[in-house]
Structures are given as structure tokens and as C-alpha cells.
């Protein structure tokens, strides 16, 4: 195994995580992020009919638009701007992997808290009179948190590939463009071109290869509106049913966090600081 699980959550990770968390709590961009979610969520619910199920679709669009792009940009910039301190930490008798994991988790938790605070507070203020659709809203919040972890992990991996901020930002935007736009276009192209053939497993696999798509599918399954989400949602529903599909989707999202993290650690352990 790449890492011994027993050694993963050691003291160093907890210490680095704590300080990274405090560092980001005082970052104005994390505050703005929270504020942006609060305002947009509040406006969507207020002017979207104040029906939780109606608002969920728009809120999902907000989450899958903002969380990945902000996590990618903020995560990569934060990584590059604190390379000097990482060098100092690496000069102490601690493992590099512990520094990397602590920093990644600390930043992911900060962004998740900021997202939860912004969106959660707006939801509480707007929907306190009704508990209909609360499950969907909670699922949306959980997905927002999971996407924060996934894309911070990705941001760290990409930030490991170069010391130059402009190159890393280029990579980050390319990845975001791929996951947010290009992947769906490719899927659409496949469906249109090969619609006469049985494509179920191909489409399922393609959906699993995009964390943003996975989030869409999970929330769709939860709302039991798979037909609205096109081929992939309907297929997963048919194959796995609602609950099984959700568990499978969540597990895939966990994998989307773990895989870039482990690859990132491997690169960071050999990286010149």
C-alpha cells in the first residue's frame, strides 16, 4: 500500500491541519466566498418560489459552478504562496507526507465550513418555516463539502507540477473547463453518434469519471428525478436504484478525493522545494 493507514493521522497532520485552518479563517477570500454563497442562495430561494424542491435544482447549479472553480483556484494559489513555509516545515524532523495531508485537509475543511456557513445560513433564514425537501438540501450541502475536498485535492496535485503560478492557474482552469463543459459535450457527442448501440455501461463509466457529473447524478437520484438528468441519471437509477446509486456515487466521490491526494503526496515527497 502507498501509505500505512496507521501512520496517516499522526500528530503532525493534526497540528498542520489546525494551523492551516486558522490561517484560512483569516483569509478575506474565504470570507467573501461565504458571503457570495449566502447572497446567491438567499436570492435563489427568495425569488425561486421558496419551494425547497424547486430551489434545489438552481442551488445544485450554483454549487457545481462555484465550489469546483473556487476550490481549484484558491487551493492552488494557497499552495504556491506558502511553499516558503512548507520548506521551513520540511526542515523540521517531520514527514513531508504529513505536511501535505495536514495542509490539504486544513484547507478543505476551511472552504467546506465557509460554504456551509454561507449556504446553510441563507437556507435556515429562508426555509425555516418548512421542513419539506430538507433532506435534499442536506444532501446538497454534503455534496458541496465533498466537492470542496475533491477539488482542493486536485488543486494541490496540479500545484505540485510547477513553481510558476501562471502555469498552475492555466492547468487549473483547463481541468475546470474539462470537467464543467468539455466532458458533458463529449458524453453528448457519444450519445448522439452511437445512440443506436447499447451505451449504458459506457455512459455510467463516463459519469463516474467526472466528479461534477457524479454530484448531479447523486442529487437527481436523491430527488427521484432521474429522468430530468438525461441518460446517465436514468441509467444509474435503473441499474442500482436510488439508495444504492447514491452510495456508489458518494464512494466514487471519495475516490476522486483520495486518488489525487495520494498521487500528490507521491510527487510532493520527491519535489524540490
Amino acid at each position: 500500500m502507498l501509505l500505512n493507514l496507521k501512520n496517516i493521522f499522526n500528530n503532525t497532520i493534526i497540528k498542520v491541519l489546525q494551523f492551516e485552518f486558522y490561517e484560512n479563517l483569516r483569509n478575506k477570500w474565504v470570507f467573501y466566498y461565504s458571503g457570495l454563497f449566502f447572497i446567491l442562495t438567499y436570492l435563489i430561494i427568495r425569488f425561486g418560489g421558496a419551494q425547497p424542491l424547486q430551489a434545489s435544482g438552481s442551488l445544485l447549479s450554483l454549487v457545481i459552478l462555484l465550489v469546483p472553480i473556487f476550490s481549484l483556484i484558491f487551493g492552488s494559489v494557497s499552495f504556491i504562496e506558502t511553499l516558503g513555509f512548507m520548506e521551513l516545515m520540511a526542515a523540521q524532523p517531520v514527514k513531508r507526507s504529513s505536511i501535505y495531508i495536514g495542509k490539504c485537509l486544513g484547507l478543505s475543511i476551511s472552504l467546506s465550513m465557509s460554504f456551509l456557513l454561507g449556504m446553510g445560513l441563507a437556507i435556515i433564514l429562508s426555509l425555516s418555516h418548512s421542513d419539506k425537501g430538507l433532506g435534499t438540501i442536506i444532501m446538497l450541502l454534503v455534496l458541496g463539502v465533498m466537492l470542496s475536498f475533491v477539488f482542493v485535492s486536485f488543486a494541490f496535485l496540479l500545484a505540485n507540477l510547477s513553481n510558476k503560478k501562471e502555469i498552475v492557474l492555466g492547468l487549473v482552469l483547463t481541468i475546470w473547463f474539462y470537467f464543467f463543459i468539455l466532458h458533458d459535450l463529449i458524453m453528448f457527442g457519444v450519445v448522439v453518434s452511437f445512440g443506436d448501440y447499447p451505451l449504458e455501461w459506457l455512459i455510467l463509466t463516463m459519469s463516474a469519471l467526472n466528479p461534477i457529473d457524479l454530484s448531479r447524478v447523486i442529487i437527481t437520484l436523491h430527488m427521484d428525478l432521474s429522468s430530468l438528468m438525461g441518460a446517465s441519471g436514468a441509467l444509474i437509477y435503473n441499474f442500482f436504484g436510488g439508495a444504492k446509486g447514491i452510495v456508489l456515487g458518494m464512494s466514487m466521490l471519495c475516490l476522486w478525493f483520495t486518488a489525487p491526494l495520494l498521487i500528490g503526496i507521491k510527487i510532493f515527497n520527491k519535489r524540490n522545494l
Partner: protein
């Protein structure tokens, strides 16, 4: 292979960045309690050498021995080494008090000189201010603190007095002398010849990643019949070029 007389022994160290050779077959020894200066023009490989010893940069070939033991364990050998980078970097939104607290936590060692350094360098006035709000000089003082607050046997300093006002630079030089009196081993880089003359027992001149020679500053000055090390160095480069 080991060498117990030398606290630090570097054997045939080489490093390339892409096609650029940064260190080329570098070998040197630093004995316990001595102060060793690495000199050379910008880009000659001084910082890369220090970073290679700290494990911040991974060398391609060669070996490094600390206290006679080959440096194979990636973390344990750092327990007795402290390092001052050229450019200080702490977490921008945290205060020096917090970031230094994390470094102490990670090292798990008593910072015996912390309070003395805070008092002497006047750090108290900006101890709780975010690091990003500090001036270059203040940041450099924090850099001095993080390096000197622990009692370590081996100390690596990358241009320790550059960008410091004369008063603080003099304090750092005094501290280095004090460390030397306490039998600590110091390896530092510098462009300031008077500083090297003042504190170094031995020096090496690096150029294009190669060590051109190792000599004591006094011997070098004498060899070139110069008034001081700076003049000797100028004479050396002039004769070398012609």
C-alpha cells in the same frame, strides 16, 4: 564509508535541473565546532547545496554524512539541524507567534533561546501582527528567531545578514561567534567578504556548481598579498579571467 572527525561530510554531490548542471561533483568536510563559508557568484549553486543538505532539494548523485552516519533517514537527522533560508516564509495571515508556535510543535524541542531573541531583536512589537503585514526587516528578524531559538549542533545559514540593518547584522555575527564558542558547526553562504573574514574558519569558492578551492580566509588573503579578503577575491577573479 564514514568520517567521525567531521560533523558534515559531502561526497561527490551532483544535481541537475533539466539540462542545467547546478552542482558538479561537490565534496567538502566541515569539522565539529567550525564555521565554514560558501562563496561564489549568484547562481553558482550555494543555495542549492544548502537546500540539498536540508533535504529540500534532492541531489542526483553523491552522499552526505552527518556525524559519520550516512543521511538515509529522511527526517531523523534534522532533529539536530536548523536552517535559515534566504527568504523567510511563514503563513501570511497568522502572526509570527502562531507560525513559530507550529514550528516548535513540529520539532518537539524546547526553544531555549526564544525569549532572549525576542527581547534582543525587539520582536515583541510585531509578535502578534499578521506575517504579511510585516516589513522585510521584521520578516528577516523572525527568520533569525526561527533558526537560532533551538540549540542545534549543526546550523545552515543562507546569506544570514543580507537585507539586515547594520545593528541587527552585527547581532547575528555575534550570535554566530557565540555558537562557535559553544562548539556548534556552522555552514553559511555569503557575498559579504568582511563577514566571511570575521567569522569563517574555512571557505570554499563555488562557480558553475563546482568547488574551485577550499582555504582559510587568512591564507587566501596572504596568498594574494591583499589588505583584506575582498581585495584578495578581486585579485583572484582578475587573475582568473586574464
Amino acid at each position: 564509508m564514514s568520517n567521525t572527525n567531521n560533523t558534515l561530510k559531502i561526497n561527490h554531490l551532483s544535481k541537475k535541473f533539466g539540462k542545467t548542471i547546478v552542482l558538479q561533483d561537490v565534496s567538502l568536510s566541515v569539522s565539529q565546532g567550525s564555521t565554514y563559508a560558501l562563496l561564489g557568484p549568484n547562481g553558482s549553486g550555494k543555495t542549492t547545496l544548502l537546500k540539498s543538505l536540508m533535504g529540500s532539494i534532492f541531489y542526483d548523485t553523491g552522499s552526505v554524512y552527518f556525524n559519520g552516519k550516512v543521511n538515509t533517514n529522511a527526517t531523523d537527522y534534522k532533529k539536530d539541524i536548523t536552517y535559515m533560508p534566504q527568504i523567510p516564509g511563514l503563513l501570511p495571515n497568522l502572526s509570527p507567534k502562531e507560525s513559530i508556535g507550529l514550528l516548535i510543535n513540529l520539532r518537539q524541542k524546547e526553544p531555549v533561546f526564544k525569549q532572549q531573541l525576542i527581547d534582543d531583536l525587539g520582536i515583541k512589537t510585531f509578535w502578534n501582527r499578521p506575517f504579511s503585514k510585516l516589513s522585510g526587516g521584521m520578516k528577516q528578524k523572525i527568520n533569525i528567531l526561527q533558526c537560532f531559538m533551538f540549540e542545534s549542533n549543526i546550523i545552515f545559514l543562507d546569506e544570514p545578514t543580507s537585507s539586515l540593518d547594520p545593528q541587527v547584522a552585527s547581532y547575528v555575527k555575534k550570535w554566530i561567534k557565540k555558537l562557535k564558542e559553544n562548539n556548534k558547526t556552522i555552514l553559511f553562504t555569503s557575498h559579504i567578504m568582511s563577514e566571511v573574514e570575521d567569522i569563517a574558519d574555512k571557505m570554499a569558492l563555488l562557480n558553475d556548481g563546482k568547488i574551485l578551492f577550499e582555504v582559510s580566509p587568512k591564507e587566501f588573503t596572504k596568498k594574494y598579498q591583499a589588505k583584506n579578503l575582498e581585495e584578495a577575491m578581486v585579485k583572484y577573479w582578475s587573475s582568473d579571467v586574464t
